[in-house]
Symmetry: C2
Subunit: 403 residues, 2 copies
């Protein structure tokens, strides 16, 4: 298929300035400009998958200085549908968020319908084939059934761009095939070619109606293979995207994941690209420090808000950076989650109270932990930026990860 993909794109309403670089790693301090305001990087993008942060209103998000959220094209295609969002003024107006916003293309979610659950796939665990809602995956795109009501939907690179135009985020992401974990090199290579074909078609469609209100991210795939990741990085970097996203199969354990991200990031660095780089769906505390060191500028992950709903509070200097407030040892604990945290929750409530809320099945418990965990992530990113700003990235990183 011959494509007249654009060779350049005008992103004049947007910008990405690298303000400072770390001397010992690829870590960098930056400012990403969008029509809805600037985002300092490294930054964390909070998941408002279905156009809502679970347990926190935009006002709650602003109260802890959260700067950017993302929504998901696939989920909003299923409910309420892009036409509804468009008629209600686009995502910003729809969900009452006036800051920067990104939408993911939905490729990962559609892929998950066929091969496994969302979380099992990204974590590399075994796929779940019981519910094959993905009817067809071809060069053209993906045909799938709505898990909501069985309705048949088609998502193509073009329609993903069209839908994201209706949704109107600042930052859009191209549709890609999110390569499964348990496939061989041959499948991964073919999948990579498909992703690159889709990337070109996405750019062509994007250029057709480009009006300066949106900027597009291309996705670097390539599975677990160093050469394919390099090829993925080079190909995507050669196209006129505003930013790069690193996605797909990242191996089946942490160290493999860091290696794979490093393949992509090393290659992106060699291309001389000065575009912002987003790491799709990864955002553990250690992942963020390691990712920043490799040159990642933004992260997103459902974990901070998801674990809040199960009683977990993010906290420094404890195993896995979290404590579970449902634990009986917190029953009469008068201390806040974190004495050094200045969020509303830590300033006003004891661990004992939050323990009581979870014991009583009071939803305020998850609301408070959600608040705290968002504040924690905002604080973490702020600390990373401070460390970069004063040239102490390596030192502060060690302090966090070995402290």
């Amino acid at each position: 298929m011959q494509l007249n993909a654009p060779l350049s794109m005008d992103y004049s309403g947007f910008g990405f300035d690298i303000l400072k670089r770390d001397t010992n790693s690829r870590a960098r301090l930056g400012r990403l400009q969008t029509p809805h305001g600037d985002l300092l990087t490294p930054g964390f993008i909070f998941c408002a998958t279905k156009a809502a942060i679970r347990g926190a209103s935009p006002r709650d998000m602003r109260a802890v200085n959260a700067e950017i959220v993302l929504a998901n094209t696939y989920h909003l295609l299923i409910q309420p549908g892009p036409d509804v969002v468009e008629r209600l003024g686009g995502l910003h107006k729809f969900m009452g968020w006036d800051g920067p916003m990104l939408t993911d293309s939905g490729g990962f979610q559609i892929f998950s319908l066929g091969q496994g659950t969302e979380s099992s796939e990204i974590k590399g665990s075994r796929p779940n084939r019981r519910n094959p809602l993905l009817l067809e995956l071809s060069k053209k795109g993906a045909v799938f059934r709505s898990p909501r009501n069985g309705t048949k939907h088609t998502l193509t690179p073009e329609s993903s761009i069209q839908i994201q135009r209706q949704l109107r985020p600042d930052l859009a992401v191209v549709l890609d095939e999110c390569t499964p974990v348990h496939v061989d090199r041959d499948y991964t290579e073919k999948s990579l070619m498909l992703t690159h074909n889709w990337a070109k078609r996405s750019l062509t469609e994007f250029a057709r109606h480009h009006d300066g209100t949106q900027a597009l991210y291309g996705v670097v795939q390539g599975g677990i293979y160093e050469d394919l990741r390099r090829q993925g990085a080079e190909t995507i970097a050669s196209m006129p995207f505003f930013g790069h996203a690193v996605g797909g199969c990242l191996g089946d354990h942490k160290e493999a994941m860091y290696d794979i991200i490093e393949y992509a990031m090393r290659s992106l660095a060699k291309t001389g690209s000065k575009r912002p780089v987003h790491l799709l769906g990864i955002g553990g505390i250690r992942d963020i420090w390691e990712g920043v060191a490799m040159g990642i500028d933004t992260f997103d992950c459902v974990t901070p808000t998801r674990i809040a709903r199960h009683g977990w509070a993010l906290k420094r200097n404890v195993e896995s950076f979290r404590i579970n407030l449902r634990n009986a040892r917190f029953r009469e604990d008068p201390r806040p989650i974190d004495e050094s945290c200045d969020c509303y929750v830590c300033q006003n409530f004891s661990r004992g109270y939050i323990h009581h809320l979870f014991k009583s099945h009071e939803i305020l418990g998850l609301q408070l932990l959600t608040q705290h965990n968002i504040a924690f992530m905002v604080g973490l990113m702020s600390e990373i930026r401070s460390a970069l700003s004063c040239g102490k990235f390596e030192e502060v990183k060690k302090d966090w990860l070995c402290g």
Copy 2:
């Protein structure tokens, strides 16, 4: 049983000033003073039954100018236990609420264990005898099992006061027997005598450790019988309580309920009492207007926050003062719940968005409706006070109820 019940009580840290009286009804504008601030009356007390408003933090409550909350002695006895609340600094500190607070005695809830569900009982529907957790009800008090873990608890008039002292609300309520709907006059009369005996014992216990930080409400019972309600009102008014609460069986339909409240209120008015009067557990929009007209100063009801969790938004000029945002007709409705409402929700979100949140099972939907419904109730009470202040109570009442 001979009791040395106190003949007077010093409530110098508290006060209730009647600022203005309506000329056509018993409605009155007042100011209730507590150690945690003043409450303008008529006022609405929001139910934080288990020491939490479902779906709203104290900060959310303050954002809409909510002034007072209540918690429940029975529920907090079951979980986390009064000792825990006491060790964590009392209810205000425990739940992060620094305004006026009342605790209900738990009589209604214990009674419900034996005879029916909480809501079926107050609404006069048939009792549910399948789960008789109330083991014993005697002159001494009530013995019951925790529905949580089967633990046996005893609640007596004395222990209810002791527990409320540990919980440390500003306003406490005596333990009473909440008379069932389907009992005869003879049972109701005996029950009333028991309630009066308990009222004396409560005062005696209250006086033993009274330190000026709490004020006590006596409860007017008497079932559906005019003479017993009169007797209830006169007896409670003759004791040194700070305030009166009207409770118990209020008949099995709205008009009967208003008649029964009127029996109690007419008698309380005749006693010449200038104490604040609280109507326990009743707070529909019409109920509030009618109650205020009869001289009720404060109301409490779970309805505003409970119906929010099921998609209902309170709204003026519609049937039953509510609309259900889950209804498909709101799918693309760009309007706020109420154009004239200045709450955060109505200023920032469309009906279409809230509809989407409920369709998507996003808890933000119930959080937003909870916010709006609390704002609505605060606004309603404020409008009632304004109407009283400018002598237009009857007019504004008609406008609300017939508009």
